[in-house]
Symmetry: C2
Subunit: 404 residues, 2 copies
Amino acid sequence: MLENSSSSSQRLTVITCTAPVNIAVIKYWGKRDEELILPINSSLSVTLHQDQLKTTTTVACSRSFQEDRIWLNGKEEDINQPRLQSCLREIRRLARKRRSDDDPSNDISLSHRVHICSVNNFPTAAGLASSAAGYACLVYSLSRLFGVEGELSGVARQGSGSACRSMYGGFVQWKMGEREDGKDSLAEQVAAESHWPELRVLVLVVSAERKPVGSTSGMQTSVKTSQLLKHRADSVVPGRMEEMISAIQKRDFATFAELTMKDSNQFHATCLDTYPPIFYLNDISRRVISLVHRYNQHYQETRVAYTFDAGPNAVIYTLQEHVPEFVQAVRHFFPPETNGGEFVKGLSVDSASLSEELKRAIGMEPVPKGISYVISTQVGPGPCVVEEPNLHLLGPDGLPMKST
Amino acid sequence: MLENSSSSSQRLTVITCTAPVNIAVIKYWGKRDEELILPINSSLSVTLHQDQLKTTTTVACSRSFQEDRIWLNGKEEDINQPRLQSCLREIRRLARKRRSDDDPSNDISLSHRVHICSVNNFPTAAGLASSAAGYACLVYSLSRLFGVEGELSGVARQGSGSACRSMYGGFVQWKMGEREDGKDSLAEQVAAESHWPELRVLVLVVSAERKPVGSTSGMQTSVKTSQLLKHRADSVVPGRMEEMISAIQKRDFATFAELTMKDSNQFHATCLDTYPPIFYLNDISRRVISLVHRYNQHYQETRVAYTFDAGPNAVIYTLQEHVPEFVQAVRHFFPPETNGGEFVKGLSVDSASLSEELKRAIGMEPVPKGISYVISTQVGPGPCVVEEPNLHLLGPDGLPMKST
């Protein structure tokens, strides 16, 4: 934390943190309480590594600030958004509680206003759940600023449901809880990021189109209209959560992969059962699904799994040993633009060749430029504090630095 | 029936019938008995008019025939197919029973072999349920040949499940039944073809691609793997059947249309919940779905409904008064090839223009050639005997006429 005294009367306290994206393998879709953001079923996700995908947030506090303000990806946004207000209010409440309890050490006045500046290192249009990383980072940063410790996933949840899972690294479940006040609807680590080092993640970016229906309104319509969603939440997910946790604990890739694919498909099935129906998968998504099933079929072994959130991009889970060949298969069946920059970003991938048998077994007509690029990554840790002061996004005047 | 005595020793008895296509509005997907073809839920369909879409089948019988034979769309096929054999066996059983009961009038010997020749007046690749019309026509023709009357939908059902619904005109339910022997799994007319004269049907032919997964194996996989399908069959369809029958009886188009769309979507949702998932809708199908919802939204009234079977083609239900404008909307958003022949086949459709407001409200980017053509039709009657002897598909020698 930097205490900047550019002017003797205007002490600025500033802190910068990063938080990860998470990709659910048991999907969250549907709230039982819109205000508190309480889900109709538990869910489970893998936290992706921040070396490839992260949100960075700087928060600053000063007596001289007239009002709370926020800048997202370089643009000032409305601080009065209800979900932002929920997070600010909850963090301040926890800070107040903590101080009255026992600790006078943190001297940040709770009456001081905050400035918040946040950027993603990945395009929002990539369809990754940027709100999860964003709210996790906001809550984590504010908690450090105000000296709040302990369970914070319940606060992040009130920003964006899935944000609670980005508060931990590794494999994380969000237990739906039972209480009406939501106090037991919290994230919990199932296994640490070091638990399954061979696990790899590939994000296949299908298109930068905006998604047609946002997830907040989409899940509202689903809860209202889909009879299948209710059955899924009540009768299917509880068993799948248990199976998934056990597969992760045993590092049983085939079970993990099959459940992941089935749960992605069931989530999209409930979107289609919504009225009017919601479609997130497009023809390229469907080709990725075929590619994965035919690839696995060829080896008579589940080596690769797909999952899709509220958009057409595929997230692939596989093991390190299969990455080079599978990436080559993606390159073969979705030939990239020759001058389109690097096709694989992130963790480097060894080159590999495809056997003629494998190509024949997959037997799909290649679709040029069907996939724009691939982000190669792995399981990663939860939110972190950035120690280097030159990485702050807010300058000594409490306003965004030019470079952001 | 023609008794042809081209040679005194080789009397040929020949009969020709036609049967209709039906399009389900409450979908059949999943069998509880593969052998008897007993479904896991009841279903309901509209019989389409044979002026536009029909199967024609000639059956002939002669002491000189050495074996049962069948020609489909000009090509001889294997008569030993189990489902064909089921139909032949059942019809002969009923004929035998009837004669031993009371009636010596029909002198066709049950030991005579039959020749069967069948053609569709629509391309199989159009993705319409040609097996339903085909088996209905086969069973109906054989029943006339052998002088069998009464309930025959249970025989047609054993050829192809949905064929039982093509045994009646108008609006037809297939009651799933409860008995293990399937004797109560029969079709029944809900309303005659004259009941709702304003109802119109448009088949939007999206593509002539072969469907990726046949419905027989597709529904087997769904029954085995989809938890949502079981819930649908047990808990959703019974209520929908009642609502649908009531909507038809009251000619309540909005309710009929909404249930039709919801049930189509739920069927495709269960396909997606199947493992590996089954996709029948493609990007053009999804655009048709959007077009329909936006069209209805614009008028704040449900004027048009879509339904999709095991393929990408849309079947549209609407009322006569809305046909010209909706067809114009299809033509506008899926501009046909200028030299591609007539875009609308079947019942003629008046021209209409689209208001700029409607185009803006729909607001989709047009997709040239997304729809190949439209078949305009209406509700129609059940199977019929063709009286003109020059329409027989089998010649005096009992072999297919050259023109077939």
